[in-house]
Structures are given as C-alpha cells and as structure tokens.
Amino acid sequence: IKMLSRYARSAIFSLPRGMQMATRATSSIQHTLKVAEKIEKTREKALLGGGQKRIDAQHKRGKLTARERIELLVDPGSFREYDMFAEHTCTDFGMQKEKYPGDSVVTGRAQIAGRTVFLFSQDFTVFGGSLSSIHAKKIVKIMKDAMLVGAPVIGLNDSGGARIQEGVESLAGYADIFQANVMASGVVPQISLIMGPCAGGAVYSPALTDFTFMVRDSSYLFITGPDVVKAVTNEEVTQEELGGAKTHTVTSGVAHGAFENDVDALMNMRELFNYLPLSNTDASPIRACDDPWYRVVPSLDTVVPLESTAAYNMKDVVLSLVDEGDFFEIMPDYAKNIVVGFARMNGRTVGVVGNNPKFAAGCLDINSSIKGARFVRFCDAFNIPIITLVDVPGFLPGTAQEYGGIIRHGAKLLYAYAEATVPKITVITRKAFGGAYDVMASKHLRGDLNYAWPTAEVAVMGAKGAVSILFRNDKENAVKHEEEYTELFSNPFPAAVRGFVDDIIIPSETRRRICEDLNMLESKKLKNPKKKHGNIPL
C-alpha cells in the first residue's frame, strides 16, 4: 500500500510537468508561482491552526497551542512535520466548507537531546481537537514509523473527543490508534501527556501507553463527564473531582504524575525521555556522569533506625544512592508504600523499586503491587536493570484486601519479577518477611545479586506473630520465646548461610557495589522459553 501511494503521489506531481508541454510558457510560470504561493499560504494557515481568536482563548485558559508545546518539548529546529496538508474528508453538516490544513493534530518527528522521538500534539483550536478519520491516520502513521526505526512516541493530548460529524469514521480512527498502541507496546516507549480534556474513547489510548502524565488544573481524564454522571447515577461531581490530576495521581492511579503547568510538564518530559532507551532492541542508555561510581555514602550507615519498628523514608536511601540524587519518580502520590522511578548509576539508567516503611510500614497491598508490577515490566521490556530495595513486613492482611483480590494483584508483582530477564540487584535494608520476601526480586526469582545490610531480617514473619503461633499454649513465656526467635531469625545470617543473599554489605558501600555489579551484568544473557505470551494474572 505504501509503495502504491508513493507511486500515486509522484504521478500527481509529474502532472504539471506534462502540461508544460501543451501550454504556453507564461501561463506555466504563473501556474508555478501560484502553486508556490498556495503552498506558502496553506503552510501559513496550518501554522495558525484554528485561528488567532481560538489561540488567544487557548492561552487564556493557561494552555499553550499544539505547536508551541512541540517547540518547548523538542530540540530547537529539530521538528520535521508530517501531513501538514492533510484535511478531513467529511461532507455532512456543511463540514466541507470548514477545513484546516493539517486538521486537528500536529504530527512529526524531532529530537530530544539529540535522540529521535515521534510525536503528535492535538490542536484544541481546530474543532476542539476532536478526532477525525484523518486525525487518526496521521497519528497511526507516525506510530508505525516510530516502530519501524525504533524510537519512542510522545502524545500530547488535548481533545474534546470524537468528531461527531464523522460518526463511525471517528470511532474507527480510535480503534486504529488503540491497535497501533498495542502493537507498539513493548517495542518502543510510549508516553502520553494529558494537557486538556480527554474523555470517552480517547482515554484508552493513554491508558494503553507506558506512562500517562497530566497537567494540574487544566487536564481531565474520564469515561464520561459530570453531566452524564449526573443523568445516569444522580451523582453530583465536578470535573476536577471526577477526573482531574489529583484524582488520577492520588486515588485512581491512572496517571503516573502531574505537573504544575504546560511549560513545567514539557520540561519534565525532556528529563524523562533522557532516561529511556529508544526501543526494546537498544541498551539502557549510559550518559556521561560526574558522580564517582565509587562514592562512599556515609549517611546510609545511619538511615535505618535502631528501633526495628521505627519508620524511615526509603526515598532518602534512593536519593543518596543514585547519581547526583536525580530520581524521576513514577506515581509519587499513589501507593506511597512502594517507591518506583528512574535513576542513573554511573550514568546508566536503572529502574528503582523500593518498599517505603514511611507509609503503611512499607507493606505490599493491592495498589502497591500493581504499581510495582507495571514498572518492573516496563523496565524488563526495555532492558533497564532493576535495583530493588527491600524493607517489607509482608502483604497487608484483612478483609478489605482479600475482598479486593490481593492474591491475584499481589501475583502481578510476583509474575513481573519472576519473568524479568534484565539485571536484577536486590538490597534488603531491613525486613524481608514472608511471601513478600520472595516477591521482592529474591534470589529464588533469578535475582542476580542479592545483598543484605547488617540490619536485615529475613524471616517468615516477625517475632511476635511467630511466637503466637509456635507457642500458642505457652503464653506465660511469650517474651522469652520472642527473644529466642529474634536471636535466631531477626538477622541476615539464616539467609546468608543458605546463599539466599550473596553478601552482607556495609550500607555506605552499597553504591559502589551496585555500580560494579551493573558493569559486570552488562553482558548478562538470559532468555525465557519461547512462547506467544505469558498469562500474567490481570
């Protein structure tokens, strides 16, 4: 099909040349000038989108236009636009009279920090950014090209929804995009940035991509808006409450982060992009690094409190461990009992997963399992080594969790870790109890290097719980038994003597050890059995 269309295009372009012979030279010159002028005019029109009035309205809402966003996102002068002259084909409701070159989306490729990215940016000033058939085709085109060469896709979403005038054409367009999203999943990284409304069918494209980010106070994601909600369920809710950035970053977990405004969001996308490999066949990027890999981190020696029930912030550990304290956290406000995000170790991008005792004692529950699992799978898909910091008292018990299906959700994290073939380095900082110990990239799940800090306790459960089961008929001596249990199990030795941890390391030397190991694991070769795809417990 591609070949054919290219042929057709060249045939059209050759037409004027053919006519040259038959007509007088002067008219030919005029025609050439006219065409050149038309190209120029159309280009100018395309650059203005829906016109100055609509651009001003967009600005008034605190939002930038589609092209302004691209300009901020990519390296200056690197944007190459595709399909600027494309137009919609709708003839109903008088639509044939209202056409804008490029229609309601700007697509193309560019560079971010010198590396190729494909992107689309929906233009709210043209028909409210609504999705027409050509709009969808433009998006699908750049996605296919991105997969062809292996480069990430960034979508800047700002669309009122389907182009109702086009009817089922518009729905078909959505489905084409969904299919392309799924095909690209795991081949190239896909990032969605929601910068305006995104409702109905439109929400599923971001949901299929790897990361969804939002802009505070100006972006919304929902299946149906507040009016329909009111009509159907009689529930009164504002746009912001229903699908604002806060809802999706704190409560639903649909979005992976939110930024203050358009400028802030786009600047941060550049930072994130810098961490990512271009495709699943590229290695995790290694960027020039100022931070010595052998840096000793004295503060880690005291980060774990002496009192084993006292909380500390695992993010303190992460920030002091990684290069320059640069950490791009994914889902910072959702399921805070697990911390996930991108960082660099000696310049190489790594994914960091850590239980955070500061929140809910760092336990694994439904939300944290899902959050962790999706991140681990992203890292594995794109060759990013995973550093796991373990301080987990176990899975959260109780009816709320059991009814919610903690078993199948917890299994997602287990599945993700077990399936991952990228380098996996695990550090047990304190507790590693029960099934949660197994899950958190244990040796048994093909962890490459598993370390324990001197404060580590690897056991089936804590002393109190264990004694209440083991000595249920000897309540008087509970304290004595607890002491006994603590002495036996609340330390790293039981795991170390069995080879379940490779070494007990001094916390301040953790950075050095991890950097050495990552270097060594660069040539790791591990393949899962060939299969169509596994069946992760969704």
């Binding site: 600005h59 809402r61 920090a113 010198g114 400028v263 590229d282 002495e487």
Partner: protein, 729 residues
C-alpha cells in the same frame, strides 16, 4: 520506677549477630574523625607523665560531648558517653569508649536524670564527670551528689556555683571584690515607692528585673517615674509566675551596650588566670550568633583591668575551674559586671584559638588537683578568631526559628586553613525537636581580624548542609556587612541592621547578573551533558558536539512571597573552543567568563568568574530550574529555553489554598495540648492547640469563626512543618 540503664555498651554485643554489628560499627568509625589535630593547642601541651583520671563520664551530648572526648582521648583518659535512646547512634556515642543509655528522648527523662547518670557513673567506674554546658553543668545538687560517692565534678566547687548562681548574692560578692558594678541598689526592692526612689538615685533609664530572672523574662526598662511604678508591678507578677520568686532588682540601664566577657581559669591552689576577652554582642533573643576574640573595642589597658577584676572575683568566691565573667560595656569603654557563668562556655574555642590553651585539658588537670603551669604573662594573645554558630533554624523568621530534619548531605569546610569545626553531627544525623538545634560551631583563626573574617566567609561558602534549614545565609550576610566589618556592633546589632528581619542576601545588580550567569552556565553544562551518551550509536553522522552550540536561555530570579514578578533576563552561553570548562556568558550586553570544572555532582563547585575565584553549591537541579548558593543564600533560578519567554506569561497562577479554614503547623514540634474536638464551634482568634518546639510553647489560633471539621493530631504527637493540624468547615 524500674531503672532503665541499659548499659548498652557500644558495639552492642547484642543477640547473636553481635559480629555483624561489630563489623558495621567498625566501618562506621571510619567516618568519625579520630585523628587529633592538636597543633592548635600550642600553649602548655599535654604532659603524659602527669597523673590523671583513668576514666571520665561526659554528662552531655552533641558537640560539647565530642569536644570533651577529643581532649580526654588525647590525654589518654577513657571516656564514657551517656545518651538517650534516640541518640544511640550519635557521634558522641561513637567516639566514646563506652556508652550508657539513660532514658528516652526528652531531656527530663534522660540527660537531666541525675539518678540515672549517677548509676551510670557507678556502673562504669568513672572517676570524674564533665558536665559540658547546659543540662547539669550548674546543678549544685548533682555536684554534691557526685562528691558523696567520691567522684570528681569537672567544674567549680558547688559553693562557687551557688554563690554565683543567684544574681543578688553574686552582686554582693562582686561589689565586695571591687568589681565595677552597674550603678544600682544592691539589694531587694521592697515596693514601687522604693523602686522610684532608687531609680531617681541612679538616674534614668533604669532596668527593673527579677532576681531569679533570665531570658528576658521579668525584665523591663523604665525611663521615668510613671513607668518605674508600672513596670515594677508587671515584672514582679511575671517573676512570680515564671520563677516562683518575685524578688526584684533595679539598676542602671546601659544604652547601646556591648556584651564582652572574660575567660578565666583557676586551680585548687589559689592560682587564677584571665585568658582574654570575647566579644559576644551579635545576639538575638539573648542567644549569641557570632562571637570573636579579642574584641576590636577593647584596649590593652581595659583588657588588663577587666582581667584583673575577673580574677579578683574568682578569688573572692574560691573559684577553682574554668569560668566566664560577663560584662556590659558602654560606648565610653566603661565596663560593668553582669554575671558569672560557672561552666565551660559554648564559645570557648575562640579563646583557645588566640591563646593556644586547651581549656578542657586544663579543666581536667585542675579537677584532678594539679596546679596551673602558666603564669599570667605566659598567656598569649595571638591573632584573631571568629565563631559562627551554625544552627538548624530558619533565619528569615525572627532571626531563627528551629527547624528539624535529617542531614542528608553534610560536609564541613575543614579543607580551609585556620578552620575548626566543633560539631556533634555527621552526614545522616537527625536534628530532632528534643535538643538544641546547634549543628556546628564554625571557628576561624587568622593573623588579624580581616584574615579571620575572610576565612569565615570562605568557610561558610564551602559548608554543605542539606536536609535541614540552617542559618548560614544570615551568618554569611553579617560577615560582609559594613558595620560588622568595621567592628561597630552592639547587642542591638541585628534589629538595627535588619529592621524588617533578615530577608536573605540583598544583591546588587552586578551580583544579580553573576547569579543568573552562574545558573545559566551550569544549566548549559547540564543540557550539553544530557546529549553525551556513551552507548547510543545511532545517527552518528549528524551528531553535533553539544559543547559547540550556543545555549539561549531566559532566566529569572525567584519572585518573593508577594508574587511580584521578577524580570526575565535573556542569557546566552557558549563554551570557548568547545571546552566544557570555559563558559562564556552574555548577559545585558556584557560577557562574563566562567571557568572551572562545572561538576554537577560535587556538592561544592569552585569556579572563577572573570578570573575571580568563587565558590558555589548546586542545591538542586530540576527541569527548568536550578538552585545555586551565592553568598550563603540559596537562589532558585528559573532557566528556560529562550523561546519559552513568550509562553510563560500564559501560565495561570495556581489557586492558593484557603488558609483561613485550615491550621498548618508553622514549625516542627510536639503537640502539647489539643483544645478542640471535631464538631466544636470556634471563634476567630480562639486558641486551638499548643505546639512545643525547642522548649518554646506556641498557641495556634483559628483564623476564622467556624465549626471544626477535622483534627488530625493528638496530644504528644510530633508534627512536621507545614502539616495540616485542624480543618474548619
């Protein structure tokens, strides 16, 4: 109550995995600087043939405990630290040979528990106790208790402590010893008539104050008879409620005074020395901020007179340790006795710097019973020394509101010549609400005042503290303030120089340009580096060396709280000949050369701007924003690509949280009491709860009338700054 002395000796041979703890403890020791640089103590060095205590206990924490341990170790004396449970990993515990836990975090349950500390002394067999300052250092009962069990108190005899502890009594003794006194009535003032009579005898203005007073409580200055009557009654009431003792004094009020004190050193054989003065006028709320020795105001004659009077007083009370006599000095160099501190003072290091005498060593010697080896003529006065008290506090609020946190990054500027850091913390230490927020006493010594001061500025620039708010911005600003440079200081210095409170370093237009250029250069380096991949092999044919590009930014200094918009300044950066160490910055039509290793990982970045050396720190670098330290103050500079200039103006300001319906914790602290519950109606200005931080109690009030919707805290709970406490409907 069950004794909780856990005698958890350091390297806790604790439950089975003692070995691991030992290993980790041993590794942790590496970060404790145990090398003793004793070259600063050049006068009367340690004589190892002299008999000494075998083991002492230090009944204190933090920097002063570390300070005492260092000298004791150098003298060959074993040390025992006491600590609260939260301090189990503290530096002083790590440094000591043994450590005993004496209770939970609050000081009245640990460091102030005489019974537990006495038990620790008995258990460890310490022969003497050094109390440091604060806590039990001026507790005569403690000193007497020690005496009973035959243990030496490293400090003056308890009679001297109690004689000097009472203001009326100390005045009587000082008058008898012919020490200059502030004109006043030496005795209690019975009633307001007597107050007026005495005030007229002395001459206005007069200070009316409580005998038992301190910290500015029960103290008022009267300028006429009417005020004298009114203030006498007010202060008397206040004194009764604060101290349970309403005896009152009246004395001359010294206008624009300086606070200058004399360090003395005495032994048990009647010898007494004065070790020169310290100028401590830079104060806020009666707490010292920057001290220096000697004072630029004191002449040799005055110094001798002050010293001799101090020694006379010491002899009169039978003083037999290190101590300090505080004087108030007026503009005509008249000095008046204020009080005597019968302990080692916080600011003793500056005296050590200019005399070369290790005061702790001498305290331990004389406590053992040795005579002082030096004569007065042998006490040197060499060079000049400054001490900056680096506190974990926010200097923008009342010159210092306590702050807490974990020192996530901490580097002392010890690499600079003539710098001494007395601290009790290290990277990873926690500054908690329970104790004094002092991080470090930063001391610099130089041949003369300008040298010592220049070193102080360098040291403050090179001091890396992350994780807590600290007062280095204020300290650094004072160090180049004109009045301070000229030595024209009084105890009113801070309110006079900063009448609106400290608002951060005020930059001149040139300095602003420097900060913006610096931020732009560092950001250019950051962006250039983001293109330096080592394993991205595609599209090499169009690769452009990122150091050959000109980076065009639009920069902006932070806006103040009022939201007034700062002006956007375009800045262009390129690297000379593609050399990443040579940035050329164009700003406002000028070109600035910034050269040096623009390392984005090191906490301290030493660069040259147009050839002039300068030290900066990168505090944080986020997308489009970089925070650099300049002259001690953090500047959060927005650095965006040039084309963003037209777009930033469209960004809407964020809706502000309605602060009237929520009560936010203004500082970290413990909730002392909660006065309302959910559903209560409260009126505007009503006190909702009381928060205690660093020994201060603060009432928090409702900003509007309404019904209590939520109360998120309980009594006794500790809260962070900015935490939501109470919400109104």
């Amino acid at each position: 109550l069950r004794m909780r002395v856990l005698a958890c000796v350091r390297c806790v041979a604790h439950k089975g995995f003692g070995q691991v703890r030992l290993a980790s403890a041993a590794s942790q020791k590496k970060y404790v600087d145990l090398r003793e640089d004793r070259s600063i103590y050049r006068t009367d060095p340690i004589n190892h043939d002299e008999p000494k205590f075998d083991k002492i206990l230090i009944a204190n924490r933090g920097e002063i405990a570390c300070r005492v341990i260092k000298t004791a170790r150098a003298m060959g004396i074993k040390t025992v630290a006491v600590h609260s449970d939260v301090d189990s990993n503290a530096l002083h515990v790590r440094m000591a040979d043994e450590a005993v836990c004496v209770g939970p975090a609050p000081t009245n349950q640990s460091y102030l528990r005489v019974d537990r500390i006495l038990q620790a002394v008995k258990d460890t067999g310490a022969q003497a106790v050094h109390p440091g300052y604060g806590f039990l250092s001026e507790n005569t009962l403690f000193a007497a208790d020690l005496e009973k069990i035959g243990v030496t108190f490293v400090g003056p005899n308890s009679k001297a402590i109690s004689d000097m502890g009472d203001k009326i009594n100390s005045k009587k003794i000082a008058t008898a010893a012919k020490v200059n006194m502030i004109p006043g009535h030496d005795g209690e003032i019975a009633d307001e008539d007597m107050c007026v009579k005495v005030a007229n005898e002395i001459g206005y203005p007069v200070m009316i104050k409580a005998s038992a007073g301190g910290g500015g409580k029960g103290m008022r200055c009267a300028w006429n008879d009417k005020q004298a009557r009114e203030f006498f009654n007010l202060s008397k009431h206040e004194a009764l409620s604060f101290f349970g003792d309403d005896r009152m004094l009246v004395e001359k009020f010294v206008d624009n005074p300086r606070h200058i004190e004399m360090q003395i050193l005495c032994d048990k054989h009647g010898h007494a020395l004065w070790l020169n003065e310290r100028e401590c006028s830079i104060q806020r709320r009666n707490q010292k901020v920057i001290e220096e020795a000697p004072s630029s105001f004191v002449t040799p004659e005055m110094r001798r007179a002050m010293g001799e009077q101090s020694v006379q007083l010491a002899r009169a009370v039978g003083y037999d340790s290190a101590g300090t006599i505080e004087f108030l000095v007026d503009g005509k160099r008249n000095f008046y006795f204020l009080e005597m501190n019968t302990r080692l003072q916080v600011e003793h290091p500056i005296t050590e710097s200019i005399t070369g005498i290790d005061i702790v060593q001498q305290m331990l010697r004389v406590a053992y019973g040795h005579k002082l080896n030096l004569t007065q003529e042998q006490v040197p006065l060499e060079g000049w020394a400054f001490e900056s008290r680096v506190y974990a506090e926010d200097p923008h609020r009342g010159f210092g509101l306590p702050s807490v946190g974990r020192l996530s990054k901490y580097v002392e500027p010890k690499h600079i010549a003539g710098v001494r850091c007395d601290s009790g913390v290290r990277e990873g230490s926690e500054i908690s609400i329970y104790y004094d927020p002092l991080i470090c006493k930063l001391v610099t010594h130089g041949a003369d005042r300008p040298t010592a001061l220049a070193r102080m500025r360098d040291a403050l620039d090179g001091y890396v503290i992350r994780g807590v708010t600290h007062n280095i911005p204020l300290l650094r600003d004072i160090c180049q303030e004109q009045r301070f440079l000229e030595g024209r200081i009084t105890t009113k210095y801070l309110p006079e120089v900063y009448p609106e409170g400290f608002q951060g370093a005020k930059l001149t237009p040139e300095e602003e340009e420097t900060v913006l250029s610096l931020a732009a250069a560092l950001n250019a380096r950051k962006i250039a580096r983001s293109k330096q991949f080592k394993n991205q092999s595609r599209q090499q044919s169009t690769y452009v060396d990122p150091y050959t590009i000109t980076y065009k930014f639009i920069t902006e200094l932070p806006v103040d709280d009022e939201g007034t918009s700062a002006k956007q300044v375009p800045v262009h950066v390129h690297f000379e000949n593609g050399d990443e160490k040579e940035a050329r910055v164009s700003i406002n039509g000028k070109t600035l050369a910034i050269s040096g290793d623009m390392n984005l990982a090191h906490p301290i970045v030493s660069l040259k701007t147009d050839g002039k050396p300068m030290t900066t720190q990168i505090v944080s670098k986020k997308a489009g924003e970089i925070t650099v330290v300049y002259r001690g103050t953090n500047f959060k500079v927005s650095v965006l690509p040039e084309h963003a200039q037209h777009y930033v103006k469209h960004m809407l300001p964020k809706p502000k949280l309605d602060l009237s319906s929520v009560l936010i914790s203004p500082m970290p602290g413990a909730i002392k009491s909660v006065l309302v519950k959910v559903g209560d109606m409260v009126s505007e200005g009503q006190q909702l709860l009381v928060i205690e931080a660093m020994k201060m109690q603060n009432g928090l009030h409702a900003a509007k009338t309404g019904k209590v919707k939520t109360v998120t805290v309980k009594e006794g709970q500790t809260v962070d700054e900015g935490e939501l406490l109470v919400e109104l409907e």
